[in-house]
C-alpha cells in the first residue's frame, strides 16, 4: 500500500528581514532601501532562518504519526507546508488523499451570515462540494446542537455556540488524512477534549492522522509512531515511548522549567527520583530571565522512595561559555537521615554573583559516601535562564559598558585610602 504522506528533504527558510518587516509601512521599506544605498549597508534580508531543513519521512495509510518538539522546532511550519498554506523553499511532499485539519475550525465564518449560510460557506472553504454539504447538513446541525438558532446570524451566537457549529462542520469533513495541531486548537478544555475524541474515532477507522502536540501522555496513547523535531530537523523517528522519553531527557535544555510526569521516566535510582526543576525569582514566580542585581532561585522537587542515608540536593551552575561557575549543595540536609516523601528545596543564588548571559544549571540529588558524593538522581543542563544587566550603574560593571569576562561577576566590597 502506498504511503499516505511522503516527505522528501523538505525545507523552508525565512529571511529574518521578511519576518521583522511583516507589518511595515511602505515608508519603512523605502527608508531601509535608502539607508542601504547611501551607507552601503549589508541588506538586512540576507540573514536566513531555516524553520525546517531537509526533513524526510513518510506516513503509511492508516498510521497515526505524532510530531513533538520544542517551540520553534518547526512543527507548525511542517503543518503549514503540508496544508499548502505556504510553499517550501526546497524539497517536496506527496500527499495521497483528501487533507483536513482541525486548525481550520471556524475559518471564514462571517458574523453577518446565519448559521445555515455559514455552514455552506465554511464547508466550501474546507473543501466540501455543495452536494456533499447538502447531504450532511442535517447531521451537522444535529451534531452542533443549535438547530433552533440555525437561521440566526452568528454574530448573535455565544462563543460556545459558535465553536460548536464550527467544529461540527469540520468534524463532518471526513478527510482521509487529518492534520491536528493541538497547540493551535482553540476553545476551552471541553472543546479540546472533543477534538481529541474525534481524533480517536478517526484513527479507529483506519485513516491517517498527523498529530502535533506538547502533551506527551496523549502522544504516547494515540500514536503509532513519533517524530521528534529539533531545530528544524528530525532528531528521532520511531516508537512513541522511546522517542518521547529521549525527548523528555534532552529537549528542555534551554527552558526555565523541567518536570517529569511519571516516576518511570524520571531520572533516579531506588532511593531518590527527580520530579521537577524550575527557576524562580525572589517572590517564587517562574522566570526565564533575571536582573543581575536580583537573587534567583533554583527550585528542585524530588521524591525519596525509602528510608536511607541523608539525601540532599546539589546544583552546578555554568556560565555562558559552558564553564563551571560553581557547585553548591544543601549542607543543612547532610546529617539527619531523610524520611521517604516528596521534598521541594530551593537554592538561592545571591544577587550580583553571576555574569551576564545564559546560565545553565545541572541538578542532582545526592548522598554522601565519604569521601565522595554519590549522585542518586541527576540531570545535566536541567534548566537555563538569562542574566541581564540593565546598565543602571549600580551593578558590578559600574559605569563601564564593555565586556567583562568570567563565569561569575561578583559585586565586591572595595576598601582603601589615599597614602601620600
Amino acid at each position: 500500500m502506498a504511503d499516505a504522506i511522503e516527505v522528501h528533504e523538505l525545507s523552508k527558510s525565512y529571511r529574518i528581514g521578511q519576518m521583522q518587516a511583516a507589518y511595515g509601512t511602505l515608508r519603512d521599506s523605502l527608508t531601509r532601501t535608502a539607508a542601504r544605498v547611501t551607507r552601503h549597508e549589508q541588506p538586512q534580508g540576507r540573514e536566513v532562518i531555516w524553520a525546517l531543513r531537509d526533513v524526510s519521512f513518510s506516513v503509511r495509510e492508516g498510521e497515526v504519526l505524532g510530531v513533538i518538539g520544542r517551540n520553534g522546532a518547526g512543527k507548525s511550519t511542517l503543518l503549514k507546508l503540508l496544508t499548502r498554506i505556504t510553499a517550501p523553499t526546497s524539497g517536496r511532499a506527496i500527499i495521497r488523499g483528501r487533507v483536513g485539519s482541525l486548525l481550520e475550525v471556524g475559518t471564514g465564518f462571517n458574523p453577518e451570515l446565519t448559521g445555515r449560510e455559514n455552514v455552506f460557506l465554511n464547508g466550501s472553504i474546507l473543501g466540501m462540494k455543495r452536494r456533499e454539504i447538502q447531504r450532511k447538513f442535517d447531521d451537522i446541525v444535529e451534531f452542533s446542537g443549535i438547530a433552533k438558532f440555525i437561521d440566526t446570524p452568528v454574530k448573535r451566537y455565544s462563543s460556545g455556540m459558535y465553536v460548536r457549529l464550527a467544529f461540527s462542520v469540520a468534524a463532518h469533513l471526513e478527510p482521509e488524512i487529518l492534520l491536528v495541531d493541538e497547540v493551535l486548537a482553540v476553545g476551552d478544555a471541553e472543546f479540546q477534549q472533543r477534538c481529541l475524541g474525534r481524533m480517536e474515532d478517526f484513527s479507529g477507522t483506519g485513516r491517517t492522522v498527523l498529530f502535533v502536540s506538547h502533551n506527551m501522555q496523549t502522544i504516547n496513547q494515540l500514536c503509532d509512531r513519533v517524530i521528534w523535531l529539533d531545530g528544524g530537523a528530525i532528531a528521532e523517528n520511531g516508537d512513541p515511548s522511546g522517542v518521547v522519553s529521549h525527548y523528555l531527557h534532552t529537549a528542555s535544555v534551554s527552558g526555565s522549567t523541567l518536570s517529569w510526569t511519571d516516576d518511570e521516566s524520571a531520572p533516579g535510582d531506588n532511593l531518590a527520583r527527580l520530579l521537577a526543576v524550575r527557576v524562580v525569582n525572589e517572590t517564587g514566580e517562574t522566570v526565564d530571565t533575571t536582573d543581575v542585581r536580583d537573587g534567583v532561585g533554583v527550585e528542585i522537587r524530588f521524591r525519596v522512595l525509602r528510608e536511607g542515608p541523608p539525601v540532599f540536593a546539589k546544583i552546578k551552575v555554568r556560565g555562558r561559555q559552558g564553564d563551571v561557575a560553581f557547585n553548591a549543595m544543601d549542607i543543612g540536609q547532610m546529617e539527619t537521615p531523610t524520611a521517604p516523601g516528596v521534598y521541594s528545596v530551593t537554592a538561592w543564588i545571591p544577587p550580583n554573583l553571576l555574569n551576564e548571559g545564559t546560565a545553565t544549571v545541572d541538578v542532582a540529588v545526592c548522598t554522601l559516601q565519604a569521601p565522595k558524593l554519590l549522585p542518586r538522581a541527576q540531570r545535566a543542563e536541567a534548566v537555563a535562564f538569562g542574566v541581564v544587566d540593565p546598565g543602571d550603574g549600580d551593578s558590578a560593571r559600574g559605569l563601564f559598558t564593555g565586556q567583562l569576562r568570567g563565569a561569575v561577576r561578583p559585586l565586591l566590597e572595595w576598601t582603601g585610602q589615599r597614602l601620600d
Binding site: 521578511q18 496544508t83 517550501p88 488523499g97 451570515l113
Partner: protein, 300 residues
C-alpha cells in the same frame, strides 16, 4: 466447516462513512507539494476545481454587502441616481459642459455607471487579501480567487446601475442606434480586466504594506476627471485624446456611449491603446501576484 465461513462477506458499503467524489477524482487525489515555480502561470484546471468556493466567496460578499442596511439593495439604485443628478446640476446646468446631441444627464449616467463599477471592483479587489486574512493564513486555495471574486461582486451593483441608466435613456428618449449595442458588454469586460489587473497589483502590495487603503481614494477621485465621466472625450482637442487613451476607463466610457447612446463611433486607434493597456495591466498584475503568492501567508 462452520456456518459463518460459508456466508458471503458482509457488504461494507453502508457502515463505512462515504467520501465525496472530489478526492476520488484521480487527478486531484494526489497532491505534490514543491517549491513555487519560477514562472508564474494561471492554473486554469485548479481554478475550475475550486469553482464552488469561488461562487461561495462571491455569494458571501453579495449577501453581506446589503445585510443590515436599512435601504438594502435600494442603495444600488440610489447611488448612481444621486451621483448623476449632482453631476447634471453642477457640470451640466451651472458649468454648461458641452454634450453634443445627447442630453447631458444621460451622457453622464453612461459614464457614472461603469465608473462606479470600476471604483468598487478596484477597492474590493485591492483589499481582498487583507480582508480575507484568516483564510489566507489558514486554508489553501488559489489566492487569485480573492481578487477575482472581488471584481465579480460589484457586477450586481452594475446591474442595478443599468436599470437607472435605461430609465434615464427612456426619459430622454435616447436609444442605441443599431447593432453596436451588442458590444456594450465587451466594454464592461475591459473594465473588469483592468480592475482585476490593478487589483492583483495592489492586493500584492497591500499584503506587505498597509498604505494601499490610503492610496485608493485619491486615485479614485482623480480617475473620473481623466476618464470623461462628466464630459465626452471627443469634445477635447484630438492631440489630448491620445493621452487619455492610455487610461482604459476612458475607452470603456467612450465605447459604452457609442454602443448604448448612439454617440459617434470611437477612434479605433485610441480604443486599441485602451484595450492594450487593460491587457497589459492584467498580465503584469497576474504575474506579480502569482510570483508573490507563495509568500502571502508569511508576509501578510
Amino acid at each position: 466447516m462452520s456456518q459463518s465461513q460459508l456466508e458471503a462477506p458482509p457488504e461494507r458499503v453502508d457502515d463505512e462513512p462515504r467520501f465525496d467524489e472530489a478526492h476520488l477524482d484521480p487527478d486531484r487525489r494526489v497532491v505534490v507539494i514543491r517549491p513555487a515555480s519560477r514562472w508564474p502561470h494561471l492554473d486554469l484546471r485548479e481554478l475550475w476545481h475550486y469553482r464552488e468556493l469561488m461562487f461561495r466567496l462571491v455569494w458571501r460578499d453579495v449577501v453581506v454587502r446589503y445585510k443590515q442596511t436599512f435601504l438594502g439593495i435600494t442603495w444600488a439604485l440610489l447611488v448612481p441616481t444621486l451621483t448623476t443628478a449632482i453631476y447634471a446640476i453642477v457640470f451640466g446646468k451651472f458649468a454648461k459642459f458641452p454634450h453634443g446631441n445627447t442630453a447631458y444627464p444621460v451622457l453622464t449616467a453612461a459614464g457614472v455607471v461603469p465608473m462606479q463599477y470600476f471604483a468598487s471592483a478596484l477597492t474590493l479587489s485591492s483589499t481582498s487579501l487583507v480582508t480575507n486574512l484568516p483564510l489566507v493564513t489558514k486554508v489553501y486555495f488559489p489566492r487569485v480567487m480573492l481578487p477575482m471574486a472581488a471584481v465579480v461582486v460589484p457586477l450586481v451593483d452594475l446591474f442595478f446601475g443599468m436599470i437607472v441608466l435605461v430609465g434615464m435613456m427612456a426619459i430622454y428618449d435616447t436609444w442605441p442606434s443599431g447593432i453596436e449595442v451588442v458590444f456594450a458588454p465587451a466594454f464592461i469586460g475591459l473594465a473588469v480586466v483592468t480592475a482585476l489587473g490593478i487589483g492583483f497589483l495592489l492586493s500584492t502590495f497591500a499584503a506587505r504594506w498597509r498604505d494601499v487603503p490610503y492610496m485608493i481614494p485619491v486615485f479614485l477621485q482623480i480617475l473620473p476627471l481623466v476618464s470623461g465621466v462628466m464630459y465626452a472625450i471627443n469634445e477635447i482637442p484630438e492631440k489630448w485624446q491620445w493621452i487619455f487613451a492610455f487610461n482604459p476607463m476612458a475607452g470603456v466610457i467612450t465605447g459604452w456611449r457609442w454602443a448604448l447612446l448612439g454617440e459617434a463611433e470611437p477612434n479605433w486607434g485610441q480604443m486599441s491603446i485602451s484595450v492594450a493597456m487593460g491587457l497589459l495591466l492584467f498580465t503584469l498584475g497576474l504575474a506579480v501576484f502569482r510570483t508573490n503568492e507563495p509568500r502571502f501567508a508569511d508576509t501578510i
